[in-house]
């Protein structure tokens, strides 16, 4: 019997690691392809190493890192809210980031090519996203009641969205820049953004994996989680903080990338039934792959023009979720 159990655990181990290895190989392959895609589309000839090092490599790695942050945040949101329709922007972070950017644009005006201008917008988006989550948590009076938290997120999203429209009405010249932010783009991702996303992402994934047993326990409800000795409220606070940090970091660097955070956990669940420990890592990896692949397509499809990557992720992610729904792989358990 012991030999059988060892065999059983090996099967589980190999299945999870098989997908992890496939995912890592895909990342490496996509990064190499990403290095070959420039303003003129796919290039096979010799390219100036400075262009690769200073533009293509940080942009490629940045797209992967932002997708990975959104994939992790999506898996956390769906686990915390026990809802397969939950996405990283559920707590109002997207509308908060938009308002932050709109306010910054209205205050300083639009200066496209200025480094400090882009840095300021990144900071405004980050602060806006975190402030919106904080407001949601204040309105919901903590994290004890999931439904109140979700409703507060909806209210904050709607109100801050209206406030953004109000700012645009006062300062209409900001519209084009704000629209670029809302569509999402990796065009301005440099090394500093890559280091920031990796610096946030690695500790976040470590904390999430460390606390993944809580998400497993929580999947059967708060009461069951408590009966298993899990301290529901402090653990939920911690994982919500990780979710907010991941989302705010990704949004501040690449704008509002749609669907990656929602689709990545579904993709993983369609491939492998596993616990959150492996599911979180795989979702993060899948999010990175999705955004990186979309970014390569966005750069190469109509070169020298470039599609906003957010449009591609929205279209591809939406089609993918529709396909999943028709396959019956997605369970619409909105009431659970």
């Amino acid at each position: 019997m012991k030999a059988f159990l060892i065999k059983l655990s090996l099967i589980k181990f190999s299945l999870g690691w098989r997908w992890l290895l496939i995912g890592l190989c895909l990342v490496i392959g996509l990064v190499l392809i990403g290095l070959c895609v420039g303003s003129a589309g796919f290039e096979t000839g010799l390219v100036d190493p400075r262009i690769v090092w200073e533009i293509r490599l940080p942009r490629t790695l940045g797209a992967w890192a932002a997708g990975a942050l959104l994939g992790l945040a999506g898996a956390l949101a769906q686990g915390l809210f026990r809802n397969p329709l939950a996405d990283p922007y559920l707590l109002g972070s997207a509308s908060g980031a938009s308002l932050g950017v709109a306010l910054a644009l209205a205050a300083v005006g639009v200066r496209q090519a200025h480094f400090w201008f882009h840095l300021g917008l990144t900071g405004a988006a980050f602060v806006g996203a975190l402030s919106a989550v904080w407001l949601t948590l204040v309105l919901s009076r903590g994290v004890a009641q999931t439904l109140r938290l979700l409703l507060s997120g909806v209210v904050v999203g709607v109100v801050l969205g209206a406030a953004t429209q109000g700012v645009l009405w006062v300062a209409p010249e900001s519209l084009q820049t704000l629209q670029a932010f809302i569509l999402g783009s990796t065009a301005f991702v440099g090394w500093s953004a890559v280091w920031m996303m990796l610096g946030v992402g690695l500790p976040c994934i470590a904390v999430a994996v460390l606390l993944s047993k809580f998400l497993d326990g929580l999947s059967l409800g708060d009461d069951t989680a408590m009966s298993l000795g899990l301290r529901v409220v402090p653990l939920r606070w911690t994982l919500l903080a990780v979710l907010a940090l991941c989302t705010a970091t990704a949004v501040s660097q690449t704008g509002l990338i749609a669907f990656v955070g929602l689709a990545a956990p579904h993709l993983v669940r369609a491939l492998v039934k596993t616990t959150h420990r492996l599911g979180l890592v795989l979702s993060s990896l899948a999010g990175g792959i999705l955004l990186l692949a979309a970014d390569i397509l966005a750069r190469g499809l109509i070169a020298p023009q470039e599609l906003p990557v957010g449009i591609l992720t929205a279209v591809l992610g939406g089609l993918y979720l529709l396909w999943l729904m028709h396959q019956g792989a997605m369970r619409l358990e909105t009431g659970s």
């Binding site: 059983l8 999947s219 059967l220 409800g221 009461d223 069951t224 000795g229 669940r269 369970r331």
Partner: protein
Amino acid sequence: MSPKPLTDALQAQGLSVHLGPKTAQNEVLHSVSLNVPAARWTSVVGPNGAGKSTLLKCLAGLLPFQGSVLWDDRPLATWTAKSRASHLAWLGQNQEGAPDLRVWDVVMLGRLPHQGWLSHDSDQDSAEVEQALRATQAWDWRERALGQLSAGERQRVLLARALAVQAAVLLMDEPLANLDPPHQMDWLHLVRSLVAQGRTVVSVLHEIPMALCADELVVMKEGRVVHQGQTADPKTHLALEAVFEDRIQVRSVQGQWVTLAKP
């Protein structure tokens, strides 16, 4: 020689619970006191809204309450969450969720109180999970996702999850929900074997004939315990008939207690 008095696994004194603000209207449990004897099976019965599930949650330490619950002569609040969880297993009613977790992983959750955050499943954990899955005849589904099972199959997996805790006290809220009659009988045999091993079982049951198979009956109505006694005691039968407004009768048929609907 007088019989040896039973020790109590759980003692509840003056339990009051409010759902929402502390007003008389929101009080769903009114100063309830009861003792749960160790190594016995106690069933809690009563009409809908009597406070049975709320009482069970209080005994498991899952709800804030006024009053006290003692386990092993110590207030429940003084036990650490893990220690409490490893000694008191709880199975809730109509538990949903976890459709993507494998049955094996769901039952392994029962071992959480015995594990550290970073620890892997030990051989003992695996052995306990296997034992629990076999006890509920769910072993063959161990690789399937919980969402692929029927409601009855799912209930057996969740029962296995509670069994895997290997707790001294099992608190089960409507454990027979969705189970067909043969599996209800299997559950009955399982509970009896647990009690024979020295475990304490407390169950909330709507199936009164099954509840009458227990050692003790706690009869509740409108947030109060109106009677606690042995199931064979005629006073218990009278209390049971009274809380259901004399619409049922308790009778003995071939050595078993059954309920008959009154016309």
